[in-house]
Subunit: 459 residues, 2 copies
């Protein structure tokens, strides 16, 4: 390892690597993660180009050192933990928009571009990138976990928006998964394979993303319900009827309470199961959608719509939803921890699962909220707990939620990825044969198991 | 091979295999294909279940016999040709809809289900499957080539609509790529890897497809233009403005002439570059979209809209477009052949490419039409030619189109797949390193190179 560090310094420069304790800690431990381990990376490298990544990977390959890509550092399942030490590759110096092609409706970016910054910077083109995970996420990590967010019900997930990737393979070779057509049937879908592989198959250094047109008008409306079941059923009904909503999010009474306590909006919300709708499109289409959704929610016992009164309120209301996890984290006091996780199930089972999970959390006396991208069958449980006393109960509660989701033909993670935290569930969810196919691909592309080892599955 | 045939007969039954000349010919030669070779499969097997496919694959594996999956038989790039002989796996007895889950908006089908039959059979559920390639295509082959069709501009491609696959691997083992959540981040995206792999990584025996809601209203409108460039630019502008059209297709003067000659619609169309639009949605949204598209096409020199007058005319008009290749085939006389192929490029280059290809075809004096899914940057050239005299010119013309598409950062195939016909273009399009990654995956999953050998790339 010392030799490797010296070789990186000699080849690329003194500043390209750090072994400072604080730096190591910041790249191996996370305040937001459900899973922190005792190990840290041994060094952190700061490449400035694909070429430098390739050189660094070659050095790691020579000395058989684990490689762990790092961008936003806000993933929560231990996706960038360093169980085998190794080098964390921090892309902080690769945070540029390289090319914007407005006429082709795509953009080429480096891994540490933040999706929110990207949208801010390109907004004059009339285009935007619609995948919206947590505000601190960066494109590199978003590729790694195949993330999504509130817009997925309309726009799909990360995988649907990546045109091509530049990837440094385990031996340092640089490949590009394909050119820039919006669709292609030319050979294997390597783009879609690298997306969601959590850095275990290659190190992504450049990403071409599709963009779409900023809607003429948006609106945010809120409807309250007597129960989570009613709210979930209303949301699924909107999807069944294919009413073009921009997003539909479910939030339980606890989450509404947390929003009120965080105080980011200048009104008090009713603390009861709630659906947040986003509407987007032409003025006519938005009006049309609101009327249709209004009918559906009424039929499920929902209240009248309350609309954000202006753009500022729309923004703060939606960001209250987007920052739900952060709000919860801000409630922590000494000894408190937060466990936040997600599952996804077929649409017909969402209401059942939400209801039973809520009951179970209450029965255990845990302070936790439920919310989620209900239109995709994807939801999150976020529990604030006493790190010493309640850890086992929380684990049991989460375990039971995931188990139920899998039994309902769902998945242990809809958008956060496997990391360390969901590894134990994959054999049951996928079956050993399917897992073995994944392992075979991994071994063929990374024979020494150097790329983010210990994530998704073990060697 | 004889031993293998006997073993299939003994294990699964006499009727499960054929070596009849006519049957072999029907599974190795195609009237529609651009590429026919002298070789035929040595036998055709007719499995009735995943279990039987597994048994047959095990026998093929034991005797090292190539395995070639076959469903609709209407692919055109030689995708089911048998350059190394082997066994064609015809799924004609696996043509059932296994489970329809209306509440989950998905359906489980076998490989030989036709997408048109599927939609006819499930229409009472209010749902449909939106991927619409040629009318004779079946789901198995559609998975193989990652096909799309006219609806892609709104709904995406095959890959976006497959939830999971049951796959028989090269050694006969059966795996399922994942359960039934609509989205997932649990491990590698095997579903998306098998889709588009043309049967070279495994034999697909069951497919779960997402469905969507049948739109309340549809409309078909036609606009003519003074040039292909103007028509292409108008189509791309509609996409840029994100006006929600159901489809936008470009057809050149020759194709309009072919439609008139085929006589499937009871009016004569102007034989000039034309855009066909499909509109779909609520009554209000359709009206809104028509008005907006009307403005865009006017700005590009387009005519007024002509609308299909009723549902029957909508259907026949759209099927005229869908059957364009078939219409061209029906014009063949003795010695004539048809070469039909597709490319895709970034949106900004579509007008350039369409224009130059049209000029070149005319300059060569070839009778060919151009049409395509212009909103995706994907289009088709279909040439009717004298099989003896004009073959070299046609080859040159197609080669030049593909070359130009690749230079424009596009792809040699947007939706037909590589098969035999596009193999020569992959090294330039993807680069040798990327192709080697594909080959590495192929070798790891099919070490004896038994699954549809000779397609996409060579060993």
């Amino acid at each position: 390892m010392e030799k490797a560090i010296r070789e990186v310094q000699d080849t690329i420069g003194e500043d390209s690597i750090s072994i400072d304790d604080e730096v190591l800690h910041a790249h191996g431990y996370s305040n937001w993660a459900n899973h922190n381990i005792d190990k840290l990376p041994v060094a952190v490298v700061f490449p400035t180009s694909t070429e430098e990544v390739s050189q660094m990977v070659k050095i790691c390959n020579k000395y058989k050192i684990p490689i762990i890509p790092f961008s936003g550092g806000s993933s929560i399942e231990g996706n960038f933990a360093a169980p085998f030490g190794g080098m964390s590759f921090d892309f902080v110096h690769m945070a540029n928009i390289l090319q914007l092609h407005p006429a082709d409706m795509d953009v080429v970016v480096q891994p540490s571009v933040s999706w929110m910054d990207l949208n801010e910077k390109i907004k004059d083109s009339g285009l935007f990138f619609p995948i919206d995970p947590g505000p601190s996420a960066k494109i590199g990590g978003m590729v790694g976990t195949n993330c999504s967010g509130t817009n997925a019900v309309r726009y799909g997930t990360m995988r649907d928006w990546v045109v091509n990737l530049t990837v440094v393979l385990a031996d340092g070779q640089v490949v590009k998964t394909r050119r820039r057509p919006r669709k292609s049937s030319a050979g294997y879908n390597l783009t879609g394979l690298f997306v969601g592989s959590e850095g275990t198959l290659g190190v992504v250094t450049e990403i071409t993303l599709k963009l779409t047109t900023i809607p003429e008008e948006t609106g945010v409306g809120v409807v309250t319900f007597p129960s989570m079941r009613a709210a979930a059923k209303a949301a699924v009904d909107v999807v069944h009827k294919a009413i073009p909503v921009g997003a539909v999010e479910i939030l339980d009474d606890v989450q509404m309470n947390v929003i009120n306590r965080a105080g980011n909006t200048d009104r008090k919300w009713k603390e009861t199961p709630t659906l947040f709708f986003k509407f987007a499109g032409t003025t006519g289409a938005v009006k049309d959608s609101i009327a249709q959704v209004g009918q559906v929610v009424k039929a499920h016992g929902g209240s009248d719509f309350e609309f954000a009164r202006d753009e500022a309120e729309q923004k703060s209301l939606w960001s209250a939803r987007k920052e739900a996890l952060w709000s919860m984290l801000s409630l922590r006091t000494h000894g408190n921890e937060v466990w936040s996780t997600d599952v996804a199930v077929p649409l017909s089972r969402v209401a059942d699962l939400v209801e039973v999970c809520k009951e179970e959390m209450d029965a255990l006396g845990l302070f936790g909220s439920m919310m989620g991208h209900i239109g995709d069958g994807n939801f999150h449980e976020t529990i604030l707990y006493d790190g010493e006393k309640e850890k086992e109960e929380v684990k049991r509660c989460v375990h039971s939620m995931v188990q139920r989701a899998i039994e309902m033909e769902g998945t242990c993670t809809g958008e956060h990825g496997v990391g360390l935290g969901k590894k134990e569930f994959l054999p049951e969810e996928l079956g050993l044969g399917t897992l073995e196919v994944m392992r075979t691909i991994k071994k063929s592309l990374d024979p020494h198991w150097l790329l983010n080892p210990g994530k998704i599955f073990d060697a």
